[in-house]
């Protein structure tokens, strides 16, 4: 009696381009993700920006040019995000400490 021949089970040894071709052929949809600052690549960074219990949030009203407001609203719409998140991301880029929890939808209360 011959022994059955089994195939090795292991992850596919193919590159992402080949998998993308399979996705195309199978018609798998592409998910559009919102611009997000909490897509951290490693555990350490993720911990630093980890979601902690929300910090106290307060309203700040400033007067800025209407054109800038319109541009911000358009950008928010294009990126499927909020004006608040765009402002916080810009502040984060400028060195202010903005936690992942601050960026979560609804973290600022009613906007």
């Amino acid at each position: 009696m011959s022994k059955p021949v089994f195939r090795p089970i292991a992850p596919l040894d193919v590159d992402d381009r080949q998998l993308e071709q399979v996705n195309e052929r199978l018609g798998v949809p592409v998910m559009v993700r919102p611009a997000s600052a909490f897509l951290h690549r490693d555990g350490a960074t993720a911990s630093r920006h980890a979601v902690t219990p929300s910090r106290r949030q307060q309203k700040l009203t400033v007067r800025i040019p209407t054109d800038v407001i319109d541009a911000l609203k358009r950008q928010a719409l294009d990126q499927r995000t909020t004006v608040r998140q765009l402002v916080l991301l810009a502040l984060q880029k400028d060195g202010h400490e903005i936690l992942a929890a601050d960026l979560l939808p609804g973290a600022g209360g009613s906007e």
Binding site: F6, I9, P11, N23, M31, L39, A50
Partner: protein
């Protein structure tokens, strides 16, 4: 070893199961890394508190488009015993890459029409991806959130799994408070108070699941070595 927890719908308990299984292996002394691909960042949020997070457990939240590179980076820098990938609960392209990179894919599903329908869809997708490269996939449905008091509908749903020929793990995960508490406490059952009956039962169940998985992977690994020896 890489295990992907996949579903094309939300609410099947994927993140909860990911966190609980990670806790079970971490409690056994394994180093476990969770790759959180879910946009909601649920599992990474639960384990955000490093003071409460089990030792040996790390989490990352990469851009799903860079998953392959990220896994290579994790292997090179951390070399964990196990990597668990929690994918977004939608039918989308990152799912293909996550199942292609896994040694085993688990498809959690409650015994409901909606969950089993989607599990069947994911099963077909995994098969299609592997067939494209002339390979056979290794995946199992895992019955999750099973009601302790069985109903006719639940029994029917289980029979549908058989009819659809969806391979499943022997052990079922029951609906228990200990699992749901992970989100609030940040502690998987293995790190919670074992004196509580719900925690003790959850630990017993999770140990049975990890034993099922390890046996499954060992069997396939043995076949692999057998083939290597024959070559």
């Amino acid at each position: 070893m890489i295990i992907t927890l996949a579903s094309s719908k939300g609410g099947v308990g994927k993140s909860t199961l990911t966190g609980c299984l990670a806790g079970a292996w971490a409690a056994g002394g394994d180093s476990v890394h969770i790759v959180d691909l879910d946009n909601n960042r649920t599992v990474s949020r639960w384990f955000a508190d490093t003071a409460r997070r089990p030792d040996g457990l790390t989490v990352s939240t990469p851009d799903p488009a860079g998953l392959t590179e990220h896994l290579a980076e994790i292997a090179a820098t951390r070399a964990p015993d196990l990597v668990l990938i929690d994918v977004a609960g939608t039918y989308e392209r990152a799912l293909t890459v996550a199942v292609a990179r896994a040694h085993l894919t688990l498809i959690p599903a409650a015994p409901t029409e909606a969950d089993i329908f989607e599990a069947s869809r994911v099963s077909r997708h995994i098969s299609s991806v592997y067939e494209a490269f002339g390979r056979e996939p290794l995946y199992r449905l895992i019955l999750n959130r099973v009601q302790p008091l069985s109903s006719g509908a639940q029994l029917y749903a289980t029979l549908e799994i058989v009819r659809l020929r969806l391979p499943r793990l022997k052990t079922r995960i029951l609906q228990r408070a200990a699992y749901e508490e992970l989100g609030l406490s940040g502690q998987p059952p293995h790190f919670a108070d074992r004196k509580r009956p719900t925690v003790a039962k959850a630990i017993e169940e999770l140990n049975a699941v990890t034993a099922d998985i390890e046996a499954l992977l060992r069997v396939h690994d043995d076949h692999h070595h057998y083939l290597e020896g024959a070559a």
